[in-house]
């Protein structure tokens, strides 16, 4: 029974997934299916909060751990799932025959991610990762226009498979070095870690770099962001990022504190970080498609997160976890607006948001807050988050690295401001007003409050992230 309680979020996720499956089989209306999905999201959040402070290893000791870290990430994942389902009120860009499957695949992918952050054994981790990935491969392809959907799905899937194969290859190295797939066995000999350990670790990271959109596994991001149906890309851009950052924290904590001293692993991650942020920001400067621009911006943000993670220190883990939660909120604010204004448009260009201020004042305010966050301006979480991330790197004395990151943030300002200019200054092309439903308005409000609250009162959130980071290290 105690095991079942520890496992409650996943169990509810699985059960509700089955319910949603029957909804699709019985061909219920999209309204009903979405309603059930929203209810499941709320139930999952409740279960996560209930188990937030519990610790244990349900069913299989050594393979699956429930601790504050995993439960915190699961809570955010559940909130993310709920928000994305709410945002997909009118998934017109999704093929009409596939509407019912959208929440179904989302919930199974969320289940995979939940298991991923709890996995403490390589094969469990791999299986969970695949469970998280496959449903998304499918929904990316469910575009109403088969040509558009086919392109983005092919890119996403082929690269995802390749990254996952590299991960598996890396895991074989770890297994080969330590003769075990248990994290507890892998993480013991810090000081005398074999070079192969670091090689294996870096290769293992590949699959999660892919999810995060970090260099050198970022190539799918701009294309898939541009062409995937809006609700689907909202899911990829928010929920799956949290899981990716979470699992990167878990894996890198295996190499702490030896990772920094060993040099090579740290150097590799540092360069991945520098290249990701520079490449992402510079490429984004030239984009005219809003979603594609955000695709490149996600690559840049992956770089900022890696900046903290390459320190192999508790501060870095805490900062990355804090930023993961904040990034979820900022990114969701942007994509929620994209889902709303792009109900019936396949592509959202920068011109699509022209004069949005006149057509939908509240939505344009939401987007403004999201963009301020991504720029890193106070009083949003983007500013505090960057302060913490950069601080982590400076704790290691990496002055110039932080300077590069800060200059990157200033460069990024340009393309974000162009969007803001379109929002508030340029005259709208059409006069059609967009009225969000009350549910969406409330969600947008909640997102704004989260972005501002984390930005002005970071204390409690930092403490939570620090507690989660300590749970990983101990």
């Amino acid at each position: 029974m105690e095991n079942a309680i520890l496992f409650a979020p996943e169990l509810i996720c699985l059960l509700m997934g089955l319910v949603l499956f029957f909804c699709t089989v019985l061909n219920r209306s999209y309204r009903t299916t979405r309603g059930i999905a929203i209810a499941s999201g709320i139930a999952m959040i409740a279960a996560c909060l209930w188990t937030l402070s519990l610790e244990g290893e349900p069913f299989f000791p050594g393979i699956y751990a429930v601790d504050f870290f995993s439960q915190l990430i699961k809570t955010v994942l559940a909130v993310g799932f709920l928000f994305v389902v709410i945002a997909s009120a009118n998934p017109l860009t999704v093929d009409r025959n596939g509407w019912l499957e959208v929440p179904l695949f989302f919930i199974f992918s969320t289940l995979g991610m939940m298991m991923m952050v709890s996995a403490t054994e390589l094969l469990t981790l791999y299986v969970a990762m695949e469970l998280a990935a496959y449903p998304v491969y499918i929904v990316v392809a469910l575009h109403r226009n088969a040509d558009i959907g086919g392109e983005s799905a092919a890119k996403y899937m082929v690269q995802g498979m390749a990254a996952s194969a590299i991960s598996l290859y890396g895991m074989s190295f770890l297994f080969g070095t330590y003769g075990s797939t248990y994290f507890s066995a892998i993480s013991i000999p810090h000081a005398a870690a074999h070079p192969i350990f670091y090689l294996g670790l870096l290769l293992t990271l590949a699959g999660f770099f892919f999810k995060l959109g970090a260099f050198p596994f970022h190539f799918w991001a701009p294309d898939t962001y541009e062409t995937a149906p809006h609700p689907v890309i909202t899911f990829i851009a928010t929920v799956s990022k949290i899981a990716a950052i979470g699992i990167l924290c878990r894996l890198l904590s295996l190499a702490m504190p030896g990772g920094w001293e060993s040099g090579h692993a740290q150097t590799a991650l540092m360069w991945a970080s520098v290249i990701a942020m520079s490449l992402g920001n510079l490429s984004a400067l030239a984009q005219k498609d809003l979603k594609r621009l955000l695709g490149y911006s996600t690559v840049a943000h992956a770089g900022y997160v890696l900046l903290a993670l390459q320190t192999f220190a508790e501060w870095g883990l805490t900062a990355a976890l804090f930023y993961a939660i904040g990034y979820f909120a900022m990114s969701f604010a942007c994509f929620l607006v994209i889902c709303e204004i792009g109900r019936s448009e396949d592509r959202i260009t920068i011109d699509s948001v022209s004069g949005l201020y006149k057509r939908a004042p509240f939505l344009s305010f939401t987007l403004l807050i999201g963009l301020f966050g991504l720029i890193g301006l106070p009083p949003t979480v983007g500013f505090v988050g960057k302060w913490f991330l950069f601080s982590a790197a400076l704790q290691r004395g990496q002055f110039y690295l932080v300077l590069i990151a800060a200059i990157n943030a200033a460069v990024a300002l340009y393309y974000y401001l162009l969007i803001i200019r379109q929002l508030y200054w340029v005259e709208p092309a059409t006069q059609n007003t967009i009225k969000p439903t009350p549910l969406i308005a409330v969600t947008a409000m909640a997102t704004i409050i989260l972005v501002i609250a984390m930005g002005t009162l970071p204390g409690p959130f930092w403490d939570m992230a620090a507690r989660a980071a300590r749970a990983l290290i101990s």
Partner: protein, 491 residues
């Protein structure tokens, strides 16, 4: 209720009320903002009266732990410099609201952004924690873009973008600089007072100081990073130019003083000769370029670069530890205040003339003095103050800095005094070409639109302040001198 938090929370509460008000309630919005501005003035006056100059140092301290795990605390407190700058901001806020009384376009949003700017400025002048200092510093920068873009004029998209890119590039230097100070001290606190007790390694100070100086200096119009300032100020609406040139540029100088010089005195002393050269170039260059402008808002814009150069010169002379250090710092801080009020008056009046005539070309006006005597007189007062006329506040400030320059670096002193001549030339040139020529018949219709009633109130307040401190500089100098002595005593 603690005084500093009350001053800071007044605009915060105003902002919240504004956001909840309906779009249409234009009159109510204006009244609330004016009331909030007046309230901050009253509270600042109380702060001024309550500050005890005999004991000096930091007073009115408030500390609330914010993120205790890494040593961030909400730590407010002001020394003499803080008191007068808080006062400056309150005055410019109040008069700025009155200046924009006639605004009709998107009133609610305009005042919301403007109040956000005011919050940021108050926060910087009061914060004694590096995190909050930078937090409020960035808050003050954020609203500039929408303010210039939506309510500005001329080449505003370009000007707004240029301003933001310059200022955030400055922040990019501050990010590693400020965090390096925190980690290098290893005290696990962002508290400026605690950090100032720590002696940093001289090598470290010399390395980090330029990042702090240039990072903040961008906002203070430091040559050669001043490019955003004239274009930005010209394109911004009047009250925003008032706040920006009048108060926001002081944030940069205040940052150099509070973070750079207070925490890294040896680094500051090492770099001071270099930065004195840049400051002198800024003074001369700003004045020289101002002479050649055809647009009278650009004249004011470049004059700001020149006048802020005087502030930066004073700061750098102060850290050299010469006999004239006290004069230099007193003069620099006095100049921050005097220039703030003067530029506010400048932009407030220039904005008024532009709103009525929709022209900014100097030669176009001819003899505007005959058509808009009141507006032109006010502009002339501001101009004379800029030229350093005795009896107006700038005179004392500039005098102190120039004397210090003559004592420390005679050559630099002579050059900047020549700069003062250039200032007189560009100011008198504007007067001559725009106000005292033959009246241009094109502007006959403006006769009926000269300043009256409500329009005169904000300008009258600003002139009164300039005159009071021009005739009784003791009021100001007593306050800052005690802080200056204490500040330099730490060296």
């Amino acid at each position: 209720m603690p005084l500093l938090s009350s001053i800071l929370l007044t605009p915060v509460i105003t902002l919240i009320i504004l956001l909840l008000m309906p779009q249409k309630a234009v009159r109510g919005i204006r009244l609330i903002c004016a009331f909030s501005g007046l309230l901050t003035c009253v509270l600042s006056l109380q702060l001024w009266m309550g500050y005890d100059p005999t004991s000096g140092g930091i007073q009115f301290e408030e500390i609330i732990p914010w993120v205790s795990a890494i040593g961030i605390s909400y730590h407010l407190g002001v020394d003499g410099f803080g008191v007068i700058l808080v006062m400056l901001n309150s005055i410019v806020y109040f008069t700025g609201v009155l200046t924009m009384w006639d605004l009709e376009d998107r009133v609610k949003e305009y005042f919301a952004f403007m109040v956000l700017l005011v919050i940021g400025v108050f926060g910087v002048f009061m914060s004694l924690d590096l995190f909050f200092f930078f937090f409020f510093y960035e808050i003050a920068v954020v609203p500039m873009y929408p303010l210039i873009l939506i309510w500005g004029s001329g080449n505003r998209a370009y000007a707004g973008m240029k301003l933001m890119l310059f200022l955030l590039a400055g922040s990019a230097l501050l990010f590693p600089g400020l965090l390096a100070i925190y980690h290098h001290a290893g005290l696990n606190t962002f508290d400026i007072i605690a950090l100032s007790a720590h002696t940093f390694d001289p090598q470290f100070q010399i390395f980090v100081y330029p990042f702090i100086y240039i990072g903040f200096g961008v906002l203070a119009g430091l040559f050669p990073f001043h490019g955003w300032s004239p274009t930005g100020h010209v394109a911004a609406p009047s009250a925003v130019s008032m706040l920006h040139a009048g108060v926001l540029m002081k944030l940069g100088a205040f940052g150099i003083l509070t973070v750079g010089i207070r925490l890294l005195p040896e680094g500051a002393a090492y770099w001071a000769p270099t930065f004195v050269v840049l400051a002198v170039i800024g003074i001369i260059y700003g004045a020289y370029v101002a002479m050649r402008q055809t647009d009278f808002k650009f004249v004011i814009g470049f004059s700001s670069v020149s006048h802020m150069g005087i502030v930066l010169l004073g700061l750098n002379l102060a850290v050299l530890g010469s006999v004239a250090a006290t004069d230099a710092l007193n003069g620099a801080v006095f100049q921050m205040f005097a220039h703030g009020i003067m530029t506010a008056l400048f932009f407030s009046t220039a904005g008024y003339i532009y709103d009525k005539s929709h022209s900014k070309t100097i030669a176009d006006f001819g003899g505007l003095g005959a058509q808009m005597p009141r507006a032109v007189s006010i502009f002339i007062v501001a101009g004379l103050c800029g030229a350093g006329l005795p009896g107006l506040a700038s005179f004392w400030a500039e005098l102190l800095v120039f004397l210090a320059a003559l004592k420390t670096y005679p050559i630099a002193g002579v050059i900047v005094i020549l700069g003062l001549v250039l200032t007189a030339v560009y100011i008198l040139r504007v007067f001559n070409q725009a106000f005292f020529g033959a009246p241009n018949p094109k502007w006959e219709n403006l006769k009926a639109q000269d300043m009256s009633g409500l329009h005169l109130i904000p300008r009258a307040i600003l002139i009164a302040v300039l005159v009071i401190f021009g005739f009784v500089p003791r009021l100001m100098l007593d306050l800052i001198n005690s802080t200056t002595v204490a500040f330099l005593g730490n060296f």
